[in-house]
Amino acid sequence: MKYLNRKAGTLAIAILSASLLSACGSSSNDNANETDTVSYDITVTNLTSNQPLSPLFAQLHSSEYSAWKIGSAASENLEILAEGGDNSALLNAQSSYVYSAVSGVGAIGPGVGGMLSIEADVNSEMSSDLKLTLISMLVNTNDAFVGKTGMDLSSLAVGQTVKYTLPTYDSGTEANSELAGTIPGPADGGEGFNMARDDVDYVARHPGVVGVDQGYSESVLNSTHGFDSPTAVLTITRTE
């Protein structure tokens, strides 16, 4: 169970950036300095055959922030999540563009839906450019993660729900060797994060896994660990 984020239980609260703490509780947005609380219930359903998802990780942020970009190297914080399912580094990262971050509790098995809530206090300028990022590792892989960054929430009214199907990305930080000792999930119980980068060093869509049943005899994976796109369904409901 190395891929579980042991801190998740205590950190499963929204972390507000310090600059926002001074102006809570207003119900009016007439003044740009006044803030309202927005909150969202998030459900992620695991669509895979045999890829548990690491504890969900979500952020509310502005369009200035992106958790990754196709063709660019992954941040070390993302690498730590993608290789080991550990979202604590992302959870603790400070950015003036990230208003709150939250982790779910526990892994999400295939066919299971995981839930978490996230909230932030935002002024009118922030709410007009409000984005959500969601990330989770497919733990029976070297460095695959499911997610989406920069989902627009600015026009989602209280009570409304929006739904996304989520693709799978490859962080590009660890070769997809599928060898014993390299995969943190139950298929292997191997290593999670390793700071060495022995792959292409850019984020792209994941090519899928191979596995022993497709002739890769050294692989610790088998046909049950295969996946196609999408790997999860995400629903976001604004509750406040």
Binding site: I70, G71, P167, T168, D170, G172, A175, N176, S177, E178, V200, Y202, V203, A204, R205, H206, P207, G208, V210, Q214, G215, Y216, E218, F227, D228, S229
Partner: protein
């Protein structure tokens, strides 16, 4: 919006005669982890034109593109009214790379198609077939799937000597493919354009059934992202 309103109240024949040229920006991103795209062709044309059609046999021009990456025959086969913008990435579009944002004047053309071969494959290509260009200004994102031209067996044998003129994969630009493969198959059961089943690959660089690497040269759809900005 004023133009749209005027057109809607004109008789159809008059409206089409007054069709206006649109200025659009097109950017293509290779979403894959390990597949290269050959020179990307962006074609603006009318609603009846297709560079390829799923479920129908590939034209000889499409076959040339899909098996060897050469877009010249597709361009030569175009009607005079078609606006072809070829090679927008100035050569190969590497895995995860984006083409420059490319400005296109569509003329009287209303639809957009995009093709490029995927390497290393036998006859796999990225495809956008006749996407209607919106009249409303804005940014539009389209995700493209990979197609199989159905014209060549997917033996997955790299054959740089013949450059794709014969059966075989003409090149593996990542320089991470093998040699000495016996061939995955000698059958092409669907000889029409269809969704590509993906590379099989193996992990031997000197033998095995395939010259492509199953850990590197595979993909899941979609394989490309196109952002069209209508100005």
């Amino acid at each position: 919006m004023k133009t749209k309103f005027l057109l809607s109240i004109l008789p159809l024949s008059l409206a089409s005669a007054m069709a206006f040229s649109q200025s659009i920006d097109v950017q293509v991103t290779n979403l894959t982890h390990g597949m290269h795209f050959t020179p990307v062709l962006v074609s603006a044309h009318d609603s009846n034109t297709h560079l390829f059609s799923s479920g129908q046999a590939a034209t000889a021009a499409l076959q040339t593109m899909a098996e060897g990456g050469n877009t010249a025959a597709l361009i030569a086969a175009s009607a005079d009214s078609v606006v072809n913008t070829d090679n927008i990435a100035a050569g190969l579009l590497a895995p995860s790379a984006s083409s420059p944002v490319t400005a296109i004047e569509t003329g009287a053309n209303t639809h957009l198609s995009i093709v490029a071969m995927m390497l290393p494959t036998n006859d796999g290509f990225i495809g956008l077939d006749g996407w209607k260009i919106p009249t409303e200004a804005g940014s539009y994102t389209i995700l493209l799937n990979s197609y199989d031209a159905g014209t060549e067996v997917n033996d997955e044998i790299v054959d740089t000597v013949n450059g794709g003129a014969e059966d075989g994969i003409p090149a593996a630009p990542g320089m991470n493919a093998g040699t000495g493969a016996s061939g995955v198959t000698d059958m092409e059961s669907n000889q029409t354009v269809h969704i590509h089943r993906g590379n099989t690959g193996d992990t031997s660089l000197t033998a095995g059934i395939s010259d492509v690497d199953s850990r590197i040269h595979r993909w899941l759809n979609p394989v490309a992202k196109v952002v069209v900005t209508v100005k």
